[in-house]
Amino acid sequence: MKILVPVKRVVDFNVKVRVKSDGTGVDIANLKMSMNPFDEIAIEEAVRLKEADGASEVVAVSCGSAACQETLRAALAIGADRGILIETDGELQPLAVAKLLKALCVKETPQLVICGKQAVDDDANQTGQMLAALMGWSQATFASKLVVGDGRATVTREIDGGLETLDINLPGVVTTDLRLNEPRYATLPNIMKAKKKPLEIVKPSDLGVDVAPRLTTLKVAEPIKRSAGVRVADVAQLVDKLKNEAKVI
């Protein structure tokens, strides 16, 4: 069974971005970039399946600029077998990414695609569901447990009220939630090995996909700032403030 894992290069989750003063976007020049954390979980899960003989090959895919090669190398260092970069410098919205991934799925015929549930830059939470739709496949989003069987998978999902378990047909798309696994740290030997693994580069036009954005960003603004309030000396003062000043209890 071949597993495809889309990995996105994003501003590191620890970095707080700043809005450009002209309101056209966020300033990401010179910021630390990393693999989207949910995609690290996705790669880890795919590699574990392979290690448990549940998968034959793990292919990592990234869509974006040439710099995404770095993200792919990180995926290869965790244990993916090869990487594919779909290279474009233009803005990519989830629908466009899903179409690129669809073209790749048609070519690569994976049995399973494991995406992150959400990219921590656009916070869209769409791409996996969109890919499943375009392929006419099953989907199991927000997975906290994945068991792959013969032509099927059993997936436990984190939903608003608790947990839900689905039995899905394969091929299908699973998106990862935080508690699916804890990604390993890539070891130095594996980072070295990753440098020699195959990494193919294709263009959206090679795949015949139109990636033109559907949404135009008119402006990007700073959120309303909340300022620090006061320190209270003790519990009695806290209760007094909540009762008589804030009037919330």
């Binding site: 921590v120 689905l166 939630d177 960003t217 620090a228 209270v232």
Partner: protein
């Protein structure tokens, strides 16, 4: 053209999230219809018909909507989608599961987590964990949106909408529900609670999380929440997680206990009206957004607080 809201329900009643979606829909200009897709869902449909602002309820009642899988619900909505200018749901795990699938089938963008409607085609949404607020304009003919519940009031009661049957769509048979393990609690739902008591890694153990926070929450009639670290450590169930990738809440009062205030946590609660932080580290970032900060050991402070409230 009319606007379609996809109801979230359990066949008996509609979830509160649907009421916020209805309010967002009323800002788009057009009649608001609500789709109830379920199995034996008459009561849910009747409840939807009573929501103020709803002109029509469409009910698709079939066994294959019992689990409300994204595959079957999206296929159903496809049959009527072109009658609508907008298709709206709350950005709950249900809405987030179904709407992107629907948007892709329609070959349109989906706009996630809308916090304000500027016009019929222009919407405001947070990005980067709420550290930037984007205004986006859609050129698609059908706009598919999920809305952030806390940004729109719940629609009231007093509606009297017509209820019409909608022919069920196909059963794609791609997924089957094995079971659900729902968190049982007599406390208010996180999304709808007026007061939330939320615990972080600082609680140290599941015993402390429960032993210290439950009496306080009981006293205040509050819901319980948690940071990711507290959920990962098993102090609290997954659906208690507040944050960028958990639930977004905006209660009247949010009490953060032993929570450091990471960007991802703040993203889920910084729109609360009043924020209280209890933390032993005076430098903890949570204090930068707290209205009232108490520097101290939660092991003493929380029982004290519960005690003072008792008298």
């Amino acid at each position: 053209m009319a606007i379609l809201v996809i109801a979230e329900h359990n066949n008996q009643s509609i979830k509160a999230a649907t009421l916020n979606a209805v309010t967002a829909a009323t800002k788009l200009g057009g009649d608001v219809h609500v789709l109830v897709a379920g199995a034996g869902c008459d009561s849910a449909a009747e409840a939807a018909a009573k929501v103020a602002g709803v002109a029509k309820v469409c009910v698709a009642d079939a066994a294959h909507y019992d689990a409300q899988t994204a595959e079957n619900v999206a296929a159903l909505v496809m049959q009527v989608a072109t009658d609508y200018s907008h298709i709206v749901a709350s950005g709950t795990t249900f809405g987030t599961n179904v709407l992107p699938r629907l948007a892709a089938l329609l070959d349109v963008a989906q706009i996630s987590d809308v916090v304000a409607v500027e016009s019929a085609d222009t919407f405001v949404r947070p990005i980067y964990a709420g550290n930037a607020i984007a205004t986006v304009k859609s050129a698609d003919k059908v706009k598919v949106l999920t809305i952030r519940m806390t940004a729109f009031e719940a629609a009231g009661q007093g509606g009297n909408a017509a209820v019409e049957a909608l022919a069920p769509g196909p059963d794609l048979g791609l997924t089957a529900l094995v079971g659900r393990e729902l968190t049982k609690s007599a406390r208010p739902e996180l999304g709808a609670a007026k007061i939330i008591v939320s615990g972080g890694r600082g609680l140290g153990s599941r015993e402390n999380y429960r032993g210290l926070l439950e009496p306080l929450a009981d006293k205040l009639g509050a819901a319980l929440g948690a940071s990711r670290a507290a959920v990962d450590a098993g102090f609290a169930p997954n659906d208690y997680q507040v944050g960028q990738t958990g639930k977004i809440v905006a209660p009247q009062l949010y009490i953060a206990v032993g929570v450091s205030g990471a960007i991802q946590h703040l993203a889920g609660m910084k729109d609360s009206k009043v924020i209280v932080a209890i933390n032993k580290d005076p430098e903890a970032p949570i204090f930068q957004i707290a209205d009232y900060g108490l520097v101290g050991d939660l092991i003493d402070a929380v029982p004290d607080l519960t005690g003072v409230l008792a008298v």
